[in-house]
Every structure is written in C-alpha cells, then in structure tokens.
C-alpha cells in the first residue's frame, strides 16, 4: 500500500531533486515523477484524507474530489509532456521552478481547506515567477517584477478574504462558498486576479510572452486553470461570472487580432478561452460545469501544443513576430502540422478536443435560456477561429515566404508536440474517456448532424471573412495599449509622486519649523545641511531632538486634554 502523500508533493520534491542533480538522475526525475504522480492521483480515494493542525485550524491537504482529479490529471500530464519538451533545452532553474509550479498546482486540486490552498497558491506564484525570470532577458526581469506584484496583490486579497471568512463563519473548508458579505467577495476577487478577469486581464499577455520558449508552455497551463478550478469548486453559479467571462472572451479576441507577436496572440487567446470556462461556471448547471471542466482539460492540452509550436519556431529562428515569420511549412513540416492541429482544436473543429468540450458550455446557456450569452458565445467561436485558428498558423507557417528555412526542432520537442497533437485528436474522436471522469454524469452527445453542420458553417464563414479581410488582418509593428499600462507606467509614476510628496511635506515643514527659530540659532542650523531628499538625507542630531520635542509636546497635549 502506498503511503498517502498528496501527489503534488512528489513534483515539489522533484523540484529539489532537479535543482540538485544532473545527468540521468535529473532526466529520470523529470520524466518519472509526473507519471508516478499521475498513478497516485488515480489510486488515491476521493474524500477527506489525513489532517494536520496549523494555527487554530485543522488542515486537510489530501482531499480529492472528482473535479479535483480531472484537473490534477491534466496538470500531471502537462508536467510530463512539458518536461519532455523542455528537458534538454531549459535551464536547470527553469525546470526546477516549473516542477515547483506544477506541484503546487496539483496541490491545490487536492486541498480540502482554504489555508492549504493559500499555501500552494503563494508557492505557485513564486514558482511561476521563477519560471518567467529564468528566461534570462532584461524584459523578463521587468515583467517578472510586475507579475510578482500582481500575484502578491491577489494573494493578499485572498488571504484577507480567507481570514475574514474563517472569522465570520468559523469554517475554512474549501467547498462551495455562499457569498454573504465582503469576506467572500475578497476570496472571489483573489481567484479572479489569477483567472485574468477584468480589470486583471493584462498580466497574462504582459508576462507570458517574455518567458522562454519552454517556460511559456508551463506558464500557460497552470495559473489560470487552477483559478478556474477554485472558482468551479467555490463559486459555481455566481451570476457575476457570466458577464466577466463574456468580457474576457471578447477582450482576448480583440487584442489577439490587433497583436503582432505570435506568443502574445496566444497569451491573449488564453484570456479568451478561460473566458469560456468562467462563463460556464457562472451559468452553474451541471452541464455547464462539466463543460467548464472538460474545456479546461482540453484547453490546457491544445494551448500547450500551440505554445510549443510557437516556442519551437522561436527556438529555431529567434523570432516570434508575425511580420518576421512566414512560409515555415516548407522546412518545419512537423511543427506546422502540430501547430495546425492545435489551431483547429482551439477553434472547436469537429474531431478535435475543442469541439467536444466548448460546445457543452454554449449548449448549457441555450438550455438555461440565457439567449444573449448563447449568441455571444457563438459569435466568439467565430472570433476564436479568426485569431487563433487561422491567424496564428497562417502568418507563422504560411502566407508570404519570409525566406527563413529553419529545420524542425530537436527530437524531444517534436515528441512532446506529437503526443499533445495525438491527445487533441483522440479526445475529439473518442470523447467518452474524458466524459467519464467529469464530476457530473454527461448526457451530451457532441456528434449530432445539427451540431456538425452549425459548426462547419460557422468556421466556413469565419474563414471566408478572414481571407476577405486579409489586408486588414496583416499586422504592422504596433503595440496595443492595454490595462497593464496602469501598473507599468502609472503605478511607478504614482510611487514617484508619493515619494516626492513625502519629501516636499518634509522639507516644507522643516523650513517652517526652522524659520520660527531666532536668527542666531537658525544660522547655526542651516549652515550644515546635507542632501535635501527625505529618503537619503543624513540627519543632524538637532533634527532628531526636534522630533523628540515635538513628540513629547504632542503626547502631553493629547494626554492632558
């Protein structure tokens, strides 16, 4: 009988092993541990496991639910395939950080309480920041700082929410949470930061494209999807999620259409796809939740495949902008095929994994008679085909000949892509294995004549639109302004303003106080002044004593009256 440890711990231990070892041991750890975790996920029973005490609460780090297992499975799978993809090219630090990251993500799926969840949540933020920074470029350093601050903010909001929730309800159980007051709202906001909901959508496309070709694959898989998982468990059927999700869907489409950089296109497309899941969670029926879970599963696979193909191109050519690329199908046939399969899957092309998952969400909106959502989702499906389904492969692999003749990437990268491409098609043709592990029984049949016809029509017209509008679709070297402007430009400016404000107040009050002194003292006092800046000034003892006098006087006054 295996010892019951949370499977996430295996990968976290793997992070340490990978950091410490080299050669064969490292490869065995990279490939073996995710598979072992996968086995453990399916041998462990559902329901509460052992518990441990922290602070005043009983923590339950090993409590799998059906939906937790779905996410844990795909996370472990991604750790494995991502490991294969990254094995020879990623730096030791990146691989190690990626395992910490994946391990914490799996940890969240087996968390039975909010405190355990929060611990993994913060570890995940650290692991992902390290993955990002491991790419080693100056842009990545700057992006990592913004990324870390965003997640530190989200983490703190979540912490405040959890503390408050625990204080008011006395429970830290991680299960469906009824929104009763600000505490639950804070928890929801904490989750929404990670899911990339407005106004926190910009960090995804700000950070992910700066990661290394291999790092972006890991980043795309875990953070947003664990947030989807937590929303799915804690806030199913919360109405506000429907408009938020719809906003994300269109936000992603519009920015992806405007974008030139292939990996930024795919990052915006993450927001778009997660929008579908968030909408599904907002609808909250059994079918919609099934749809959200299965769509998360399918999405992780094909988005990783897409980012692998974009990463392979970047790795081989050093370029990722659409305007620099084109015609790569001639020398990178395998990457082209795999990238195209990913693109078809994201567009819900029949017989790919996107077809059998996304339509569940739209269908549940129809069953619930939320007509406007159904229309938006249908329109968005066409939009997805435009930006990710055609635009990405067309500009990168086809269109004009850029003259580049890179070969296909190294064997291990090819292998990883083929595995994922296979899963995309397998799930599309045989959806039943996925349907079987979903949290609720599936009464949905994707392959009806009606559904097939609708989907083909939709794709056909979207494709037609793309090629008719091709001149407008051609990207120039532009940068789209996004909300990340606020924390790239506004907040540092704000910091400077506050610092300047403190300095000004300080020197003004200093001058005022000094000007009240008799001339003789003032002369002595102003003779030897150091730097004027508040933060760097070396103080004179007179100033310090003055502070003491002021403090004493104010205490006396306050205490007397």
């Amino acid at each position: 009988m295996m010892i019951e440890i949370p499977p996430g711990w295996l990968l976290i231990a793997g992070a340490i092993i990978i950091a410490m070892s080299r050669g064969a041991v490292r490869q065995i750890a990279t490939l073996g541990l995710p598979l072992l975790a996968l086995v453990m996920i399916w041998t462990l029973p559902e329901g509460a496991g052992w518990q441990v005490r922290l602070l005043d609460y009983r923590l339950s780090p090993l409590e799998f639910t059906a939906v937790g297992k779905v996410f844990a499975t795909v996370f472990a799978l991604m750790a494995f395939v991502g490991g294969v993809f990254a094995m020879r090219t990623a730096s030791r630090m990146e691989l190690s950080a990626a395992f910490l990251y994946a391990g914490s993500a799996i940890g969240i799926t087996s968390s039975g309480d909010l405190v355990t969840l929060f611990v993994y949540w913060e570890m995940m933020a650290l692991g992902s920041t390290a993955v990002l920074i491991a790419s080693g470029t100056a842009r990545a350093y700057k992006a990592s700082m913004r990324y870390l601050l965003m997640h530190a903010f989200g983490g703190f909001v979540l912490l405040a929410g959890i503390v408050w929730h625990a204080y008011t309800t006395g429970s830290i159980e991680f299960t469906k949470i009824e929104i009763q007051g600000p505490a639950q709202w804070l928890i929801l906001i904490g989750f929404l930061v990670n899911v990339g909901a407005p106004p926190f959508s910009a960090w995804i496309a700000d950070a992910y494209p700066e990661a290394s070709p291999t790092g972006a694959v890991f980043l795309s898989a875990f953070t947003t999807k664990t947030a989807v998982f937590t929303l799915l468990v804690a806030f199913p059927g919360t109405g506000i999620l429907i408009p938020l999700g719809c906003f994300m869907i269109f936000y992603g489409i519009i920015y992806a259409l405007l974008e030139n950089d292939s990996r930024r296109i795919l990052s915006y497309s993450i927001v778009n796809q997660v929008g579908f899941m968030v909408t599904g969670i907002g609808i909250g029926t059994e079918m919609a939740l099934n749809g959200a879970a299965s769509h998360a599963f399918a999405h992780i696979i094909y988005k990783a495949l897409l980012l692998m193909s974009a990463g392979a191109v970047l790795y081989q050519t050093g370029k990722s902008r659409c305007t620099d690329l084109g015609g790569l199908y001639q020398s990178m046939p395998l990457t082209t095929i795999c990238g195209t399969i990913g693109a078809l899957a994201i567009s819900s092309f029949p017989f790919t994994s996107g077809f059998i998952s996304k339509s569940m969400i739209a269908q549940s909106a129809a069953y619930e008679h939320i007509t406007w959502v159904w229309f938006l989702l249908a329109a968005a499906s066409a939009g997805v085909f435009l930006h990710a389904g055609i635009k990405y492969p067309w500009f990168v692999f086809f269109q004009k000949d850029s003259g580049l003749r890179p070969s296909d990437p190294p064997k291990h990268m090819q292998l990883a892509m083929v595995v994922l491409a296979f899963i995309c098609i397998f799930l599309g043709v045989f959806p039943q294995p996925l349907y079987d592990i979903l949290p609720y029984p599936v009464k949905y049949e994707p392959y009806t004549a009606d559904h097939l016809v609708t989907q083909f029509q939709l794709l056909l017209f979207a494709g037609l639109a793309f090629f008719l509008l091709l001149p407008m679709m051609k990207r120039t070297e532009t940068i789209s302004l996004d909300l990340d402007w606020f924390y790239r430009k506004l907040f540092p400016g704000f910091y400077k303003m506050i610092a300047g404000f403190v300095s000004t107040i300080y020197s003004a009050s200093y001058r005022f106080i000094v000007s009240q002194f008799p001339t003789s003292i003032r002369k002595f006092y102003t003779q030897h002044q150091g730097p004027k800046d508040y933060f760097h000034k070396l103080y004179h003892s007179e100033t310090m004593v003055l502070c003491v006098v002021v403090m004493l006087a104010s205490y006396l006054i306050l205490f007397y009256f």
Binding site: I133, L159, V163, Y495, C547, Y555, Y560
Partner: protein, 492 residues
C-alpha cells in the same frame, strides 16, 4: 529553581569582566559562546517552568517586594528572554569568524565583554520587576551598545553612534523622569505595587505627564516613526555582528518595555480607556510601515535598506499592540519573535557578504548568488519570510495582524498591511534580482567564494527556524497568545 530568574541575568553580567581579565581574543569568544548557550538553556527552562507553574517571583537577597528588588518572570517575560538568548546563542558562534575581519585582535576581548554586557542589560530590563531597575539595566545595555556600534570600520560609525548616544540618552532620561514622577506620586518602584496604587491617583496631571515621558522615551528606544532617525545610520555603519544582535533584540526589548509599562504598570483600562494611546500609536505605526518601506526601496546600501525595513517592521509590532485585542496583541508579540529571527537571518546573510567582498552596496551584489549560493538562498528565504509568504514565520504574524484588523473592521489597516507587504516584495525582489539574475560588471572578483561554514551554519539555523516556526507554530503562537491574554487580563 526560582533563582534561574536571576542566574539568567548574572551569567552574562559576571562573565563580561572575565573576557577583559583574560584578555585573549579566542578565549573571550569562547566564553561568549558558552555563556550565550547556557543563557538559552536557562531561558528555555524558565519558559517551561512558567508555562507549567505560573509566574516566578524571585526576591533578591530574600528581601520582600517593597524593600528589596524582585525579579518577575511571567509568560511574556520568558518569551522575550527566549528571543534575546536564542538570538545571542546563534550570533555568538557567528561572531567568531565575522569579528576576525572587522575588529582588531587587541580590541576583541573588550568587544565580547561589551556584547555580553549588552545582553545582560537586555535580559535585566526584561526580567526585573522594579521600575528603577529597568532604568539601570537600560543604561547598562545602552552604554554597551554605544561602544559596540562605534566599532564599525567605516568612520561614519563614530558620528552615527554619537547621534544615537544623544538620542539614547534623551530616551533614557525621559524614562527616568517618567519613573521619577510616578515614584513621587505613589512612593513605590515595585511594578506590582505601582499597578496597585496608580489607579487611585491616575487622574492627576503628574501621572499623565509621567506616562507621556515614558512613552516618548520608550518609543525613541524602539525607533517608532518619527523617532527612528537614529536607527538607519547606527545599523548601517556598525560591525555586522552588532547590527545582527542589536537589530534582532534591542528594539524588541524596547517594545517589551512599552507593553510592560502600559499594560501591567499603568494598566490597560487606564491607559487605553482614559488616554488616547491607540489614537497616537496607530497612526504612527501606519506611517512608520509606509515610510519605512518606501525608504527601504530607495536605499542603495542593502544594510541600510534592511535598517529601514526594521523601521517598518517595528510599525507592525506597534500596530498589533495598538489594537488592544487578543489577536492584535498576539500578532504583535508573535512578531517580536518572528521579526527577530527574520532580521537576524537577513543581516547574517549580509554579514557573510560583507565578510567575503567587504561591501553591502547593491552594485557589489551583482551576480553574487552564483558564487555564494547558500548565503543568497538564505537571504531569499529570509526575504520571503519578511514578505509573509506561507510556510514562513512572517506569514503567521501577518495572519494574526490581518485577523485583528478584520475583527476591529479597520479597513484602512488591512489596506496598509497589503501595501506594506507589496512594498516588501519590491525591496526584497530588487536584491534577489540583482544577486541572481544580473552579471557582475567586472570579472576581477571572480575568485569570490562561498562564505565560511562558521557564518553559514548560524545563518541556516535561523533560516530553518524561519521555516520551522512557519509550519509548527505551537511554541510561538501559544506563548504569544497566553502573554496577550495575561496582559489584557492583568488589571481587570
């Protein structure tokens, strides 16, 4: 076994002259190490005894309270004693190597004797039950601290120490004036007697003035904004060992004095109900957190950066106190301990850097993490702890402070805690980024190696303590919360 209370103080006090008498550098160091470990053992047994049997009262020379001086060890006392002695027990072994480079051999015996005196003074302040005795020990520890701070290699240490001497003396004098005024009013110096007699005369102006003097004097010692101006320079230019020890212990003991005087001597009902102490401390703590963190971001000398971060962290402790609630006080007292091990770890990592490259300027740290991986891994974990990442000690403090703010529904304070930890992310991450991800400008210092084990082992003891007390919180949280309950229940 009650005399452990006095042995605690006597151990370092009596062994300090020994260092000078033998006048051998290595021997002095060994004495310091042995004494600090013995003191740690004593304070651990005290904590166990107090936990099991309640407060210990030791009458010196058998003279009962109003006449003789008593030592009074309750749970709070034992907890703070444990902070001081455990930091000393880790710092002293570290000092052996670190002092080699920073203090001339001829001065080392005197250096260690001053370090022991400083420790004796701090332990004395904590364990005595007599108000005037507090002042005596305060002067012992302060004088020793001045001597220690001035030993820095940078000559600016002299001016900054002189400034601290002025400020410290003013603070000490204020405390003395405060004690004098209540003595005048009540005719006793014993804390328990004072607590009995003060309520009767509490409405007099004299007592109010006395409390004002005491608070300002103590706040000066604990460097609460805006009386923190002496701290950054004093910490920056002092020898590494002194910075570690003083930063981790002496401000904590000052916070203890504030707790002791306001909660036990004057009484929580009088001070917080009749005088606007919360209204004074809370805004100062908030401004201290913000200004200290903002200033930390701007520093280019990392030692100075950590010093400013201490100003902010002191803000957290005072914030916890100013809640005057069980969870707030628990958070504040807990943070005494947690901040001690966090800051000691960070300053130790920096001390190791100073030992190897002789500088703590941010530009000198570029790419250093590759050459000194263990040192910077320690710094990074200490940094995570100060930010308050789960599984580190800092998280536990943050949890209780947030809880206290939510209980009181003081939203601004919750926001301040949020901003404070974001600012901590910035200033810690700045160092991590420079050390890990930038490359050194010139390759001449390529021969820089990892710090010696004598520095690394104490550092990692503290780093592991940071993780241990982030996971197993039973010792720290239980001590802090029973101390909080005791303080709140003391006079009601």
């Amino acid at each position: 076994m009650d005399n452990l209370a006095v042995i605690q103080v006597l151990l370092p006090l009596l062994s300090a002259p020994l260092c000078l008498l033998f006048n051998k550098a290595r021997l002095a160091w060994m004495i310091a190490v042995v004494v600090s470990w013995a003191a740690l053992f004593v304070s651990l047994s005290l904590l166990v005894m107090v936990n099991d049997n309640g407060p210990i009262i030791y009458e010196q020379g058998g003279w009962p309270a109003p006449i003789g001086i008593v030592y009074h060890v309750d749970i709070l006392t034992a907890f703070v004693l444990l902070i001081v002695t455990s930091i000393a027990a880790v710092v002293m072994p570290y000092a052996g190597k670190s002092v080699e480079k920073e203090i001339p051999v001829s001065k080392q015996p005197a250096f260690f004797s001053a370090l022991l005196l400083c420790m004796a003074g701090l332990l004395g302040i904590v364990s005595t039950g007599d108000a005037f005795n507090v002042f005596v020990f305060l002067e012992i520890s302060s004088l020793a601290t001045y001597a220690l701070l001035s030993q820095g290699k940078d000559r600016r240490s002299l001016t900054s120490t002189f400034q601290y001497l002025i400020m410290g003396t003013i603070g000490g004098t204020f405390i003395l004036i405060g004690i004098g005024l209540i003595y005048m009013k009540t005719g006793t110096l014993n804390m328990a007697d004072l607590a009995d007699r003060l309520p009767a005369v509490f409405d007099s102006r004299t007592v109010h003035a006395s409390f004002a003097f005491l608070t300002v004097g103590i706040c000066l010692k604990l460097a609460l904004f805006p009386l923190h101006l002496w701290l950054p320079n004093a910490y920056t230019y002092a020898p590494s060992v002194v910075t570690i020890f003083v930063a981790a212990t002496s401000t904590k003991v000052a916070v203890y004095m504030l707790l002791r005087f306001s909660f036990t001597v004057f009484g929580v009902d009088l001070v917080f109900a009749k005088l606007p102490l919360t209204e004074v401390l809370l805004p100062l703590a908030i401004v201290g957190i913000l200004v200290g963190s903002l200033a930390a971001i701007k520093q280019s000398n990392i030692k100075r950066m950590l010093a400013y971060s201490s100003v902010a962290q002191i803000g957290y402790m005072i914030l916890g106190i100013s809640f005057v609630s069980a969870s707030g006080l628990t958070g504040g007292i807990l943070h005494l301990f947690n901040h001690a091990i966090i800051k000691a770890a960070l300053f130790m990592a920096l001390g190791a850097v100073a030992y190897q490259i002789g500088s703590t300027h941010i530009d000198a740290l570029k790419g250093l993490a590759k050459k000194m991986p263990w040192t910077f891994a320690g710094f990074a974990i200490g940094g995570l702890s100060i930010i308050g990442v789960p599984l580190t000690a800092g998280f536990v403090s943050k949890w209780y402070l947030v809880l206290a703010a939510i209980e009181k529904e003081w939203w601004i304070v919750v926001a301040v805690l949020l901003v404070g930890s974001l600012l901590a992310v910035i200033y810690i991450w700045r160092v991590v980024e420079v050390a890990y991800f930038q490359t050194a400008d010139d390759e001449s210092d390529i021969q820089v190696k990892e710090a010696p084990l004598q520095l690394l082992i104490p550092l990692w003891i503290l780093v592991i303590a940071n993780i241990y007390f982030g996971i197993n919180t039973s010792l720290t949280v239980e001590s802090a919360s029973s101390a909080a309950t005791m303080l709140l229940g003391a006079n009601s």
